[in-house]
Subunit: 416 residues, 2 copies
Amino acid sequence: MEKSIGIVGAGIGGLHLALYLQKHGIQATVLTDRAPEQYAATRLMNTVAHHGVTVARENELGVNHWDDPEFVYHHHDHFFNFPGSPLLFRGAFKQPSRAVDYRIYLPALMKDFEDRGGAIEYASIQDDDIPALVSRFDLLVVSTGKGALGRMFSHRPELSPYNQPQRLLCVGLYDGVDHGSPQGGDPRGVTLSVSPGHGEMIVIPTLTFGGMKTALLMENIPGGDLAELVSLNYDNDPSAFRQTLLDKLETHHPHTYDRIDTHRFDLAQPLDLLQGAVVPTVRRSSVGFDDGRLAIALGDVHSVVDPMMGQGANMASYAAFELGKAITEAVAFDDRFVETVDRARENRVLAAARWTNLMLQPPSEAMGRLIVTMAQNRALCDEFTDNFNYPERQWDRLASDRRIHAWIDDRTRLAA
Amino acid sequence: MEKSIGIVGAGIGGLHLALYLQKHGIQATVLTDRAPEQYAATRLMNTVAHHGVTVARENELGVNHWDDPEFVYHHHDHFFNFPGSPLLFRGAFKQPSRAVDYRIYLPALMKDFEDRGGAIEYASIQDDDIPALVSRFDLLVVSTGKGALGRMFSHRPELSPYNQPQRLLCVGLYDGVDHGSPQGGDPRGVTLSVSPGHGEMIVIPTLTFGGMKTALLMENIPGGDLAELVSLNYDNDPSAFRQTLLDKLETHHPHTYDRIDTHRFDLAQPLDLLQGAVVPTVRRSSVGFDDGRLAIALGDVHSVVDPMMGQGANMASYAAFELGKAITEAVAFDDRFVETVDRARENRVLAAARWTNLMLQPPSEAMGRLIVTMAQNRALCDEFTDNFNYPERQWDRLASDRRIHAWIDDRTRLAA
């Protein structure tokens, strides 16, 4: 069958899908409102780490332009700021992860797609454009939630337990934070630092316009001592911003604070700060139109997660490949097609949402036991860490307290 | 973890599960109200063909006591009683199918299970027994719809399009119907005979207490000329029953009538007749109880289909293996466990229900084209026939008219 695919949105989901289809000889048109040359002057979009499975997909697409030991990291350091008895332990990945500023990453992939003959149309989509878009393509993929497009897909309350953000985000790219180095005795890693009752901070070595810098992804609990950072203004008084942040870090995330050169500490660039919040939401996969055509949701439009566990982009890329495979094999774009796509992607994508939603809650007694056990059992913590690649496996372990205890018991027996 | 599994019901689903678990070292207790020695004096329970995939599962369990070329069949003959221009064509299986009277089959497997150390408890389950059963086992599997047990699982209206039977069944085991023979020039096959507007008849070579006989599974449309057979009494006047049936067969299913020795034609035994009807229904997979335990549905309790496409028993066996595998690997019997089971079984099981429900409807134009094309394209009809083993593949082909046309076009191109 003829397959003309329209993809609205040029995030990782839209671009990985476009590149996948291009590689498999299917014509895809990407529609986006932002040209590649506009990204450099754009505010920080996110701080995203690609785990090994996503890097492998980049290799498959031939778009891994950052295949360099200089850019990757190998482990998670977990720090818990328990009063008087802080806890610090490490878990390693089997394959390294890597974070590249999306203002570098996305335009590079857009260029790859265009260089290989792909079509990108630059236009802002308005509500009244939707019917024309739907009838223009055999299948419309919606991978941007902007405007009316995202709202077409109805919310699934049974999978969306929150109706407001669980964290207030203050995310920046900073100079002056030591995150290890490939040459040093302490290789590069991400730190997951927890200040109980106040929030988490993910410290990510990131390739930026200015080389390797450090992302501080602060996940602050509403009502906690760090919550105000979501609206602390940098531009009005950079020095006051820096000092407030350093004071908070010293109190709540001392393990990271101790690695900061306070004289050099600053945003890498003034636009390298993003403040806001996310309501984790799962939406229906597809919407049907009168003429029998349908639009299918990809990435954040399908499931947007809080960034805490680093799953959003990795899930969008994963789902793009599963959708691409289904499109390649499809004989019709109908309800059965949507079912096939969902069967392929939902286990992992929904597990990522559920796992992340669980981690946004105060830890249960079982989760507390897991943390304490991982601090003493490196193999268990390695498994937890590598499962960032496989959220469905993580969810198989964590979906209930009984499962958490069973996992700990089993791995503790192995270790004994 | 300790796993004590209770299985209510000793049909193919319950017994295949019990034998699977036994083989994998997990203790299962089967509860049923009918002892093996009672089956011989029981009325015909069904007329079930096991397709190649089910026979393969029997081999895996070591319970295929009927592994003999004498008992199997190899193809479907399709007959359409179009006035003036009847249509007859054949499709073959890759692996043979086989039908054994369940009054022979089920006690044989019960004996296998008990001979290998399995426990079967013979008792009728009443409503008030349920709480005790649930707390007695780590997991309760319900594979009988009798009494309150089946009603615990709520009906899924989105997958249950009918609220009344679509066919009135008149099912018997007969002497005097030629269905081919392994030695003859025409090897054994099943005939699927259609009398448009009046119903279908499936003619199945079946191993019975008296050796190889023929099952006539008559699927008569309410309001049609054959509908009355659902209540035609045999015992009151066997000869009138026979004559009425012969007259109807001559009119509506002449291809089969022509293979009947009218002098020998009769029920093999007086109890070999079953009349009734089925409302195709899909139910929720599980039900939770206060103490966190759950019961999970298997086989007809989960999805009962009209017998027309011969899917019910094959799906129960398939689902039993998928459930058995999930139990073997389970660390907890919780909602995630049910999800895992459903992910494993639903694509095939629900496809069988949807495909069967579609075939109960008058054929669409696309379906009509498929029939006519299969009559001329043996490879296409072979594929349709072998897909009786894989309902999910059949549904991928038949789920919409567009898919049916795409399938025909593709296979017609191949043939050209």
